[in-house]
């Protein structure tokens, strides 16, 4: 069974099983992921690419000892 909850920042909420209580409702955001998964895929991974680029354009040249 699936219900929709209209709250800021929360698009969907799934209910699990037939004996669902209010406290057991899981917060599910974009694409049906939990906030943790959303953070990993949509924020952390793009940040990694940014840091990889920063290594090439800035930090590589700063490691003088290894030259």
């Amino acid at each position: 069974m699936r219900t929709k909850i209209k709250k800021e920042g929360i698009r969907d909420s799934y209910t699990f099983g037939n004996d669902q209580t209010k406290n057991e409702k899981e917060v599910i955001i974009m694409f049906g992921w939990s906030p943790g998964l959303f953070f990993i895929f949509c924020i952390w991974m793009p940040l990694l690419i940014l840091f990889a680029v920063l290594y090439g354009v800035y930090f590589y040249d700063k490691q003088k000892k290894a030259d």
Binding site: Y14, G36, I40
Partner: protein, 492 residues
């Protein structure tokens, strides 16, 4: 019982054509290898873009393509997310912390293995021996994971049982590794990563389409088990908060001690190429990890009643690819995955044989006496064959899923090598007794706790290798402060 009832001919022809091509590359590259440095470090002559893609391929491996979808199939998104983001964080960190110093050491001091580096930094042949033993033991587990993954892939194409599939796979891998060397591995990695970039991306979006979209797929999973759409499991799943941190530690920080990946830094033609190899490795790795989520699609299709339930979790990716993707994409995916297994397997076997020949025999037992070129090559090839034989025998009846085997082996490397390697380059005060103590604690503690876990005595959710790794870090810091600083070749 075989997982399929007849040979998948379209897939088979594409795979065979690709493998012939890759083996031709190996033979061509192998003909140019004349010394041990050529064999193990590709003679420092590989362009940066090949090294960048090669790092992605070595990190991904058969463990990534077969083991991870199996774990994701069993436990939902969490493991794939943690391991994907952990390893990709490790890719970036390795460039920040190790790439340039390691490359410098290789240029100035002729170091070609991680035990070489450790001995040079800490002036200790005992540390070299511990590191070499750690590498050998880690290789056994990781290589077993590669062999099992290869056999599972063959099982999805041929109506074969596991053991015959294993022997066929090992025969192909052996021919490939012994004929070539690191340079052939590096070039095969390059082609393989190109194929996998296309195949993994296609499989990810096509699988999502078959499931009815990402939101529908997640709703299907959540209806069955809420933990499957969460990063941290709260309803009995294995990825608790502590498990998350321990696995992330082993994958992310422990990445810096992975010898099969770190040796890629030696191979690059010009040091400045490290700049862009970092970006290339990071971006391509983040794309190919989408292959992990074939485990999600297989599970969702089963829950939706669109495909039969698979008999074993490790077959999730092979069966999904063989049965759900169009033939041409399935063939390319299989070819890419098999090539990934070949290249990582090759890299591992070479790292292990270098640990035997160079670190244990030449540097420790012969006290550094140089062997002539032909004798070196003869020993190297014999050690390579020996490692393959022992690992093959262990792979006949592996103790757990490919994913867990790979994680444990990764953990052995992490717990034994990462702490002395990274802190040695970045902390001048780091001492020899601290490095020896930390490596021993990591190696013995990791294997001990993993064994206790298999015996159901260790029951904590924290990954045993993560615990050993943390203990090694603490021991290293404490012993360093308790002992006197010594001069060493790197800092002085």
């Amino acid at each position: 019982m075989p997982a399929v009832t007849e040979i998948n001919w379209p897939v088979l022809w594409i795979v065979v054509a690709y493998l012939v091509f890759i083996i031709a590359v190996a033979i061509y590259a192998g003909r140019k290898e004349k010394s041990m440095t050529d064999f193990y470090a590709a003679g420092m002559g590989v362009p940066w873009w090949v090294v960048g893609l090669s790092i992605t391929a070595a990190t991904m491996s058969g463990w990534g393509f077969v083991g991870m979808p199996g774990m994701v199939y069993q436990t939902g998104w969490a493991f794939g997310a943690v391991i994907g983001v952990g390893a990709s964080t490790g890719v970036v960190l390795s460039f920040y912390l190790l790439a340039k110093p390691m490359r410098k050491c290789a240029e100035k001091l002729g170091s070609i293995t991680i035990p070489d580096l450790l001995e040079m930094r800490y002036n200790s042949s005992n540390l070299r021996l511990i590191a070499a033993i750690g590498i050998l033991l880690g290789t056994v587990g990781y290589q077993a994971a590669q062999y099992k993954a290869f056999a599972n892939m063959l099982q999805a194409i041929f109506p074969l049982n596991y053991v015959p599939a294993l022997f066929i796979g090992v025969a192909i891998l052996t021919a490939y590794t012994i004929v070539g060397g690191m340079k052939s591995v590096a070039w095969a990695d390059f082609f393989e990563t190109l194929v996998m970039l296309a195949a993994a991306g296609f499989a990810f979006f096509y699988g999502m389409y078959l499931c009815g979209g990402l939101t529908v797929a997640n709703a299907t999973l959540a209806a069955k088990n809420p933990d499957w759409v969460k990063l941290i499991h709260t309803q009995g799943g294995p990825m608790t908060l502590m498990a998350f941190f321990s696995v992330f530690l082993v994958l992310g920080i422990g990445y810096l001690g992975q010898p099969h990946v770190m040796t890629k830094f030696y191979q690059i033609e010009k040091k400045i190429g490290l700049k862009w190899a970092c970006v290339l490795a990071c971006v391509t790795f983040l794309i190919v990890i989408t292959a992990y989520y074939t485990g999600i699609w297989q599970r969702v299709l089963e829950l939706q009643g669109k495909t039969p339930v698979i008999p074993h979790a490790d077959l999730a990716a092979p069966i999904f690819v063989a049965q759900q993707l169009p033939a041409i994409m399935a063939g390319l995916t299989f070819a890419g995955v098999i090539a990934a297994i070949m290249s990582t397997s090759g890299a591992f076997i070479l790292v292990a044989s270098s640990a035997i020949v160079r670190d244990i025999i030449q540097k420790y037992m012969l006290k550094g006496r140089e062997l002539d070129g032909p004798t070196q090559m003869k020993w190297s090839r014999m050690a390579t064959a020996g490692v393959i034989l022992v690992t093959c025998l262990i792979s006949i009846k592996p103790i757990t899923l490919v994913g867990w085997l790979g994680l444990a082996s990764w953990g052995i490397y992490a717990a034994t090598l990462t702490t002395p390697l990274v802190l040695g380059f970045w902390w001048r005060r780091a001492t020899r007794p601290a490095a020896i103590a930390a490596s021993l604690v990591g190696l013995v503690g990791g294997i001990g706790l993993f064994t206790l876990k298999q015996l159901k005595i260790y029951t904590l959710k924290m990954d045993p290798m993560g615990v050993a790794f943390m203990a090694a870090i603490v021991v290293f810091i404490v012993v360093t402060f308790m002992t006197k600083e010594e001069p060493n070749a790197y800092w002085d």
